[in-house]
């Protein structure tokens, strides 16, 4: 590190292929480009432990993880990696199998890496948040368990990520960094407790300027003591609910919007996920969602070039083949606006 600060560059070489038996994922090979100068870190592989949903731990469990890591690794960690894994930084090729035996026997499996399903991740959800419209932790865990093979044995054209947030606050940034983003939402009227509204009004809150004026659809009004909402015009943005959590609650029918495609900028520019299914019920064991996920992955796996993410593939092929393959109808919720230019394709099926 001292050296990097002086010369302003890193000295890590590309990872070779290292891993544990029967797995293709979970370990990132890393070798120093200056092994003679720094023999202690000549091998410095990363070991990704799949975190428990919501990043909850007991001290007992964490200490156990630490003890093993001190024994077979550098003692350095990332709590957590950007994707969500509990990342152990720095071990040697020899120690990998030992680490795996120690951890897996205690219930800690490896996370994803390479051209595989990546470790799913979620916000804290119903464990501690009044706005969680879906059970994010259960969904995350169920998906992770369902796709164990796809997580551990890279067989896809590239990585695919899945993140789940309980509401439009999107505390796990699903819309920005998951190929498949699940965001909790509701149908039906926002539940208003006018007595609580009154209390907010009596407190120091300026309901008009803190809440009403920010409503993006102008569908709220406040007459000095109670709030009225034209729910048909509400776009469920969550602003009012977050600012008056005691007085306003989401509508009673709960579910999620499914969005697809986000990724970092390499190489066609960053993407945010696009709305594909405006509303889907999300009840354990989440079969409808898992089937959709499988269909999406299958279409992508069948059609993508190497290193092509699902969002990029949709851009190349167009939305229609994707929607047709997964059996979803075109809906205005999928777009901000319809196309501008009068050039568009017709299929034989449109002529009937």
């Amino acid at each position: 590190m001292e050296k990097s600060f002086q010369t302003k560059r890193g000295y890590w070489k590309h990872g070779g292929i290292v891993g544990v038996l029967g797995y293709g994922s979970g370990v990132i090979g890393r070798y120093s480009s200056l092994p003679e100068e720094f023999p202690g870190v000549a091998h410095f592989h990363t070991y990704r432990i799949n975190q428990p949903s919501g990043f909850f731990y007991t001290s007992k469990a964490l200490k156990e993880i630490c003890d093993i890591w001190d024994k077979y690794g550098s003692g350095l960690t990332n709590m957590h990696g950007s994707t969500g894994d509990l990342v152990l930084l720095g071990t040697t090729t020899e120690n990998l199998e030992t680490l795996f035996a120690e951890y897996s026997s205690r219930g800690w499996d490896l996370g994803g890496s390479g051209s595989a399903m990546r470790t799913p991740s979620c916000c804290v959800g119903q464990a501690r948040c009044e706005w969680a419209m879906i059970d994010t932790m259960d969904i995350c865990n169920t998906v992770t368990q369902h796709f164990q093979d796809e997580l551990h044995r890279p067989a896809y054209p590239y990585k695919i990520k899945n993140k789940i947030s309980g509401c439009a606050c999107d505390c796990v940034a699903a819309i920005a960094r998951a190929d498949v983003s699940v965001i909790g939402t509701w149908k039906g009227d926002i539940q208003i407790d006018q007595a609580e509204v009154k209390k907010y009004a009596d407190s120091k809150m300026d309901i008009q300027s803190d809440v009403i004026d920010w409503c993006p659809t102008d569908c709220m009004s406040f007459d000095g003591s109670s709030i009225t909402i034209d729910n048909s015009q509400c776009n469920r943005c969550m602003h009012c609910i977050t600012r008056m959590t005691k007085a306003l609650k989401p509508g009673k029918e709960r579910g999620a919007s499914i969005l697809v495609g986000s990724k970092a900028p390499i190489v066609v520019g960053s993407l945010l996920s696009w709305v594909i299914v405006p509303f889907m019920k999300m009840e354990s064991p989440f079969e409808e969602y898992i089937e959709l996920l499988e269909n999406m992955i299958e279409w992508w796996d069948d059609n993508a070039k190497p290193r092509e993410r699902i969002g990029e593939l949709i851009e190349v092929k167009g939305m229609r083949p994707f929607l047709e393959a997964i059996g979803v109808d075109p809906q205005p919720q999928q777009v901000y606006e319809p196309r501008k230019d009068p050039f568009f394709f017709w299929s034989e099926s449109d002529f009937k």
Binding site: A168, D170, I175, I183, T185, K187, P216, T217, D218, S232, Q233, C234, N235, R236, C237, M238, S257, L259, G261, S262, G269, L271, L272, S273, W274, V275, P278, F279, E315, G318, M319, R320, L323, P330, Q331, P332, Q333, Q334, V335, Y336, E337, P338, R339, K340, D341, P342, F343, F344, F345, W346, S347, D350, F351
Partner: protein
């Protein structure tokens, strides 16, 4: 008889010679105006002078007899001064206030539509159509007539929340301003062009023809010394036809028109906007295109009901959201609405906030 001597590169005549004296005198010195009726307005100058304008609709496609008729009216009521607007209406420039009402009365008596000023529809911008363009896949004038017959009250009397600019383009070249109109009709093809290889060979430059295709759907066909088209890629834009007419894009059975909405040119309140696809297709049903006319009327009336004063069609739609536009108008949303051309990315919704 000998011809007069031709002159070149003289440019158009100087406009100053056509300005009525009241304009010459007050040029650049106008202070304000008032809209008196849907077809008349008055401009006030610093000097205190007033200029009255009386506007009538014109079909744009004018026989010289019609022009002479306008000229005679201008001579009778305003010393022969008249102009055309940028949307092809005729404006009589009257300096004598007492002539305004008689002129309006006369125009109405002669069957002219006096109007188009203020928050209403104006002339439908349109282009050549079957009348004069080889590229046309609908008729512009016929369509315009059918639409205007239904909506003329919004020109002559009824007010709308703001101006509503209508247009018709007879092919995707869009010689009018369809791409920035409140409500517009654009003719579209839906079938891959048919190649007459014999004539392609004779009439076309193969490389130029290949290069003309925006989706790279055209490939050489060396055997025929012609080209082939990859059906999957062709989006029927007709550009190949423009550079090589033996590639015939016309298919009378499957050609028709689309309706686009929400465009806007001025920068008032919100930025200029492109029109977007509302309805991807109607069959050509000359001479009255009833379904097209109904659809336009439906959109216009839904707008009239829902929009706030001053709000243009596109501003109204953006305020309520496109999902709400489709709901309120009852228009079907289809695969064609989803952009898959160059700028798809920016049209896809990347937000959890939308209306059902």
């Amino acid at each position: 008889m000998a011809l007069p001597e031709r002159q070149t590169d003289i440019g158009p005549p100087d406009y100053r010679q056509f300005l009525p004296p009241v304009i010459e005198k007050n040029y650049g010195k106008w202070t304000h105006h008032e809209i008196l009726t849907p077809g008349t307005m008055v401009h006030y100058a610093e000097s205190g002078d007033k200029l009255f304008t009386v506007r009538i609709a014109s079909p744009r496609l004018l026989a010289t007899d019609s022009i002479r008729e306008f000229c005679n009216l201008a001579e009778e009521y305003c010393d022969g001064y008249l102009r055309f607007t940028t949307r092809n209406n005729v404006e009589f420039l009257v300096s004598d206030e007492s002539k305004v009402d008689p002129l309006v009365a006369k125009l109405k008596a002669d069957g002219h539509m006096v109007g188009g000023i203020g928050p209403r529809i104006s002339n439908i911008i349109h282009t050549q159509g079957w009348v004069h363009c080889h590229s046309a896949c609908t008729d512009a004038s016929g369509l315009v007539k059918a639409i205007m017959d239904e909506l003329h009250e919004y020109f002559t009397t009824k007010a709308l929340p703001n101006k509503v600019r209508l247009a018709v383009a007879c092919c995707v070249n869009m010689c009018g301003a369809v791409h920035v109109s409140d409500i517009a009709v654009v003719a579209v093809h839906r079938k891959v062009p048919v190649i007459d290889s014999e004539n392609v060979r004779k009439a076309c430059e193969i490389p130029t023809t290949i290069a003309s295709c925006p989706t790279s759907a055209i490939r050489p066909n060396p055997k025929e010394k012609s080209v082939t088209i990859n059906e999957e890629k062709c989006m029927y834009c007709g550009n190949c036809f423009t550079v090589c007419p033996p590639i015939d894009i016309h298919n009378p059975e499957q050609d028709g028109v689309a309706i686009v909405v929400g465009g806007k040119i001025g920068s008032l309140r919100t930025d200029p906007k492109f029109s977007k696809l509302a309805i991807p297709f109607f069959y050509n049903e000359p001479p009255r295109w009833p379904k097209v006319v109904d659809a336009i009327k439906n959109i216009l009336e839904t707008y009239k009901k829902g929009a706030k004063r001053h709000e243009r069609v596109g501003e109204w739609i953006e305020r309520i959201g496109w999902e709400e536009f489709f709901k309120q108008t009852g228009i079907d949303f289809t695969f064609q609405h989803i952009d898959d051309f160059t700028f798809m990315r920016d049209t896809l919704r990347t937000s959890a906030a939308f209306k059902y």
